[in-house]
Symmetry: C2
Subunit: 384 residues, 2 copies
């Protein structure tokens, strides 16, 4: 195809380059096969574009140990590497954005814990730290604590934020909201870069789809079974918000049409059902097997309704209740299969979340990388 | 901003032009305000781009009678115009792709009826016809009947298919499937253009989101209550397929966990529940009020689960059961509100489908216009 320097061929090529850069920014490191799959470009076209981008140092290429060459086009190379022994084979080469291309900061302003994680555009975590906070801490104060955490971390590790692309921040509760506005404004003023705020359960969903159990997958449905029950949808590596940012409110699907009223406005919600069981038994550690089977079955029914709606490739389940292992997953999978269309459950994979406490902060990083603002877009174009 | 002829500014501008053209190809005629909203471009940038595209005759601008200038950024101009008296005001000007830019053919190969509709890229219907067929007619034969219908229609109306962009075809049952492959191959061979095949209920969903009750809306959930119960999701004007093309299988969400086994593999499905009532009463015309209230309530519960999952802006309900009017919609809306998170139902609009027999064929046209193949993309670029 050559390297046209002007005219329509150049424009077509630029749009293909943009596709390659977007795929790597969104998905992280990918093999050439995975990149071809993600961009829908032919091997020949892709090869020519990758060569140019490598020469421009927009991309880097490196060998990854322990990734099976047959890992398929679904999972990310990083995911395959993380899977360890199972995928061990000859080293494969993965492409990623040049890590020197910029940083993103992720924050999770949780109920009792503030987490800060910093990564580069090549999806490498460069620093991470957390502190405890009291539940009654104001949102303005939480933001100050998070800023101090970033300042300490960057000073200690000698990290410069001059190439900061943006901040992604998880908060408790619905977004948009007053607290979301407080967080957005304070962080925007302090760092002078785009700030993205979302609910921290939805950010955990995005993190699992980017770095965890749903890495590289086209459509991920995430459910968190904790003291609250929430979820999130990630399509094509991007968080799906819905009309008012409430997509993935799986904890408020009803499991009992005659059940009690829920504070959300609904009735007989899954979250309320689990919450009542936790009150009855005194926490996750004390749930008897029958109670776990009951809530697992109800959860499977809720997931069945959600899966018949969006037909995801993978369901990722996280939260404290997953510590019950197969006591949870066996009845959950059985109910999910029982109440879904064959075409929906035939290829469905149900799996446990892989990320830990920093999931929502990592999701904040992914939110920055999947939401390039116009300005960042323009910056890239003007440098090319 | 001027008209940069080369360099990064030109590339940025081309990407903005592409956004404008894609919005009009996907959404149909739009006012400048709606176009600004759809493309996320500033009024100034948009104005400059529209001026250039009008001068190149890629776009046309015309006055639409009866569209209220306050029609808002949600509804399409065509939708506002179609709404008639309610929106009557001073004429507003709408932009669309130049109708001379190409044609798309939509087909619905239904159980007992074959429909063909032809539109131009400006979303104007230029011809439409249908014939009856026996339910036992083979899929190869149905395709032949549809081809003959296209040939007769184009001859009679002196329509040239030299600028045909593609065919979009609705079939009964799941896609991908053997019958889908038969249809795809036969039509591809006959017309030599890209052919897109999907389930005809999902195409009706896309049609409602493009030309009907959900026109111009960001996220539409469609449900069809007929002898079968199906649905579809349309996000950003595009049909959402899911992992195996089964997204929107709302008829197979369970309404009775102890209910009978459904042929789909599930249990107590809404479709089965309605089907049993129709058997009991002998068709839609004979359903007693209590039976309608019952199925309406179950439908509201199913829609609540689906809406808590995807948080759509609009729910569009079609099919024969909607002839029951408020006998259906009142209890349906009540149950939907009862079982959804406040943040989900606060802004939700539930409305009746607007399109008639040609809905799926129109959806086929929209499928062509929302799926520009690489080749068509390239053709446009090379002509600009």
């Amino acid at each position: 195809m050559g390297t046209p320097s002007s005219g329509p061929l150049r424009l077509l090529r630029e749009s293909h380059e943009e596709r390659v850069l977007t795929a790597l920014r969104t998905r992280g490191p990918l093999t050439r096969a995975q990149l071809a799959d993600q961009t829908n470009l032919s091997r020949a076209t892709l090869s020519s574009i990758v060569q140019t981008l490598l020469a421009q140092e927009a991309l880097i290429e490196r060998a990854v140990e322990g990734a099976s060459p047959e890992a398929g086009s679904g999972a990310s190379a990083a995911g395959a590497a993380a899977a360890g022994v199972r995928g061990r084979g000859r080293p494969v080469s993965v492409l990623s954005l040049n890590p020197g291309g910029g940083l993103a900061v992720g924050m999770d302003l949780g109920h009792r814990r503030i987490q800060v994680t910093i990564a580069n555009v090549g999806h490498e975590i460069v620093a991470s730290d957390a502190i405890a906070c009291a539940e009654r801490t104001s949102w303005a104060r939480r933001v100050q604590l998070a800023i101090t955490l970033v300042e300490d971390l960057t000073t200690r590790r000698e990290i410069s934020l001059t190439s900061l692309a943006g901040l992604g921040v998880g908060i408790v509760g619905p977004v948009p909201s007053d607290r979301g506005a407080v967080v957005h404004q304070a962080l925007g003023e302090r760092f002078g870069v785009p700030v993205f705020v979302d609910n921290n359960t939805r950010l955990a969903a995005l993190a699992e789809a980017t770095w965890g159990a749903g890495a590289g997958v086209g459509s991920v449905l995430y459910l968190r079974l904790s003291y609250g029950v929430g979820g999130g949808l990630v399509f094509g590596g991007r968080l799906f918000a819905g009309a008012t940012g409430a997509a993935g409110e799986l904890g408020h699907i009803s499991v009992d049409r005659d059940g009690p009223r829920c504070p959300c406005g609904g009735r007989g919600c899954l979250e309320l059902h689990l919450s009542n069981l936790l009150d009855e038994y005194g926490g996750f550690d004390n749930l008897v097997p029958d109670a776990i089977t009951d809530v697992a079955t109800r959860t499977g029914e809720v997931l069945a309704a959600a899966c018949n709606t969006v037909n995801p490739e993978v369901v990722v389940v996280g939260g404290e209740l997953t510590d019950a292992g197969e006591h949870l997953f066996h009845p959950l999978r059985r109910a999910l299969r029982e109440y879904t269309h064959t075409q929906v459950h035939r290829t469905l994979r149900v799996t446990q979340a892989e990320l830990g406490y920093d999931a929502a902060a990592r999701g904040g990083i992914a939110l920055v990388l999947t939401n390039p603002p116009e300005e960042a877009e323009w910056r890239r174009t003007s440098c090319s």
